[in-house]
């Protein structure tokens, strides 16, 4: 009873306090708060991926000869380069599907190569989309998406199914939830694969030639979903030959050749004012 009375007193007291000059203080507080938020935002737009000196060999064959790359939060980094340049291998090092021989990779503040790092916990924060989709052929689209929700996030079945439906809805495939991969077109399969990744709410998405296995008329639907993700502020690293998409959507374009980064910059820097002869030769070949 006493507590209730006290509470009532406080709520009656507030307008009174405001009247005697506390209003200015709260206004000042809000201003300070918004400044603080701004500052935090600048700090928060930090490096999401920091790779330094990444080396990788397959047997005696060197594939990556020291890659340094920083991808900032909410950035779309686009890696281009001739086949065999090591771009896919580098991408696969970022979630340790390939184990680098040396170097350091920090993703979202976690040293993913450290012995003490639980790689499975890290991987659920790093989505990956493959050239060949790699959907599970024995499961419906919905089950493809909900499997990791249930087994990794340990969500109950109903909740996992709901979240899977939501993810499928985001790639405009809610109506295909009960279809098996073999009943879907390539573009639809790739969008289910994207849904499978985004359902886990990753901090970073890696795309390994996501449209290379698609018929030309299906490429657009996948790129549209990727554009949507970018607009929502997803940090993305894309290995692809879709130059038009890179020009339009990338924040940073990286040209790789023979296991090294030759050049990186804005799409404008790379596509129009390239400093490197090798980059220009490659881009000319792509246009042909």
């Amino acid at each position: 009873m006493i507590e209730v009375k006290g509470a009532r007193k406080n709520s009656e007291a507030l307008p009174f306090l405001n009247r005697i000059g506390l209003v200015e203080r709260t206004e000042r507080q809000t201003e300070l708060q918004s400044r603080l938020q701004e500052a935090r935002h600048i700090v928060q737009r930090r490096a999401m991926i920091e790779a330094t000196g990444v080396h990788k060999s397959f047997g005696a064959l060197p594939i990556l000869k020291g890659i340094d790359l920083t991808v900032e939060e909410k950035e779309l980094a686009f890696i281009i380069g001739p086949s065999g340049s090591g771009k896919s291998t580098f991408l696969r090092c970022l979630n340790r599907l390939e184990e680098p021989n040396s170097g350091a990779i920090i993703v979202d503040g976690v040293d993913i190569l450290a012995r003490t790092t639980n790689i499975n916990a890290v991987r659920r924060r790093i989505g990956m989309v493959f050239q060949s989709f790699n959907l599970y052929p024995h499961m419906t689209a919905q089950k493809n998406v909900s499997l990791a929700l249930r087994k990794v996030l340990r969500l109950p079945r109903r909740e996992a199914d709901e979240r899977a439906m939501h993810a499928l809805d985001r790639v405009q495939l809610a109506h295909k939830a009960k279809s098996y991969p073999s009943e879907l077109s390539g573009g639809q399969q790739q969008r289910v694969a994207i849904a499978r990744s985004i359902a886990l709410e990753p901090r970073v998405m890696l795309f390994d030639e996501p449209t290379s296995a698609l018929d030309p008329e299906l490429v657009g639907s996948v790129l549209k979903v990727m554009r949507g993700l970018r607009e929502e502020g997803m940090t993305m690293v894309v290995v692809s030959h879709e130059m038009a998409f890179a020009r339009q959507a990338a924040d940073k374009v990286i040209f790789m050749d023979h296991g090294r980064i030759v050049e990186q910059g804005t799409p404008e820097d790379i596509f129009s004012h390239s400093q490197s002869e090798r980059t220009r030769t490659f881009l000319n070949q792509m246009e042909r």
Partner: protein, 227 residues
């Protein structure tokens, strides 16, 4: 009696049939549960070995391959005799039933390990990568993603092999197990008539046709998508 009547009397003698029917039925029951024991332990052990092999520990895999190769090479009858007549020498005496169960289970485990392993090895590497990239552990990926696809590949060789080995329960007659063939043979020596053997053949058909049908049903169930 004409030769036709002689044959009829020798193979399809109704009075003999009536007399030996209870023995044959009892033997059928023994064959059924000996087979079931062998199928369960053999396939379970084979599956466990194949899963273990998928972890790619070189020293462990060496022994799994050695095991599979040995037990796929040695004839079932030799193995049964070896256990039945050999083990007592080592101070370990087990019944004929247990010998048959152990020997055939070991052999079925070897074959089913190879079938499951072939399925696991045939599954696209991208399936592993997709599972692992979502944070599933190696074992979770194996269990939920790889194994169902491997089983689809393994199911056809596995059913035919399972049937072949379950029929191998007839070898147990050699070590005094009164399964169908054993029972029929001992009745034969009492009646001097082949009718019990005919009944044995029919009994095997009756028992194993459902197994073949079950195999076919399982194969169809594993066709998860229209191809």
């Amino acid at each position: 009696m004409s030769s036709w009547e002689l044959a009829l009397d020798s193979f399809f003698n109704l009075s003999v049939a009536r007399d030996v029917l209870p023995t044959i039925l009892k033997a059928c029951w023994l064959t059924v549960y000996l087979s079931l024991f062998i199928i369960v332990t053999g396939i379970a052990c084979g599956l466990a070995l194949a899963l273990l092999r998928a972890f790619g520990i070189r020293s462990v895999n060496f022994f799994i391959v050695l095991y599979a190769d040995f037990f796929r090479t040695v004839p079932p009858l030799v193995l049964i005799c070896l256990l039945y007549f050999g083990l007592p020498g080592a101070g370990l005496s087990i019944s004929g039933f247990a010998c048959a169960w152990l020997a055939l289970s070991l052999i079925l485990a070897a074959y089913s390990e190879e079938s499951f392993w072939a399925g696991i090895a045939a599954t696209n590497r991208g399936q592993w990568e997709a599972g692992r990239s979502t944070g599933l552990t190696k074992f979770q990926t194996l269990l939920h993603i790889i194994l169902p696809q491997a089983a689809k590949v393994a199911i056809a060789p596995l059913t035919s092999r399972t049937i072949a080995i379950a029929k191998g329960t007839s070898y147990a007659s050699v070590v005094a197990v009164p399964e169908i063939l054993g029972a029929a043979q001992s009745e034969l020596s009492v009646t001097y008539n082949a009718t019990p053997l005919v009944m044995a053949a029919v009994a095997y058909c009756i028992i194993f046709i459902p197994v073949v049908a079950a195999g076919r049903y399982i194969e169809q169930r594993f066709q998860w998508s229209a191809r």
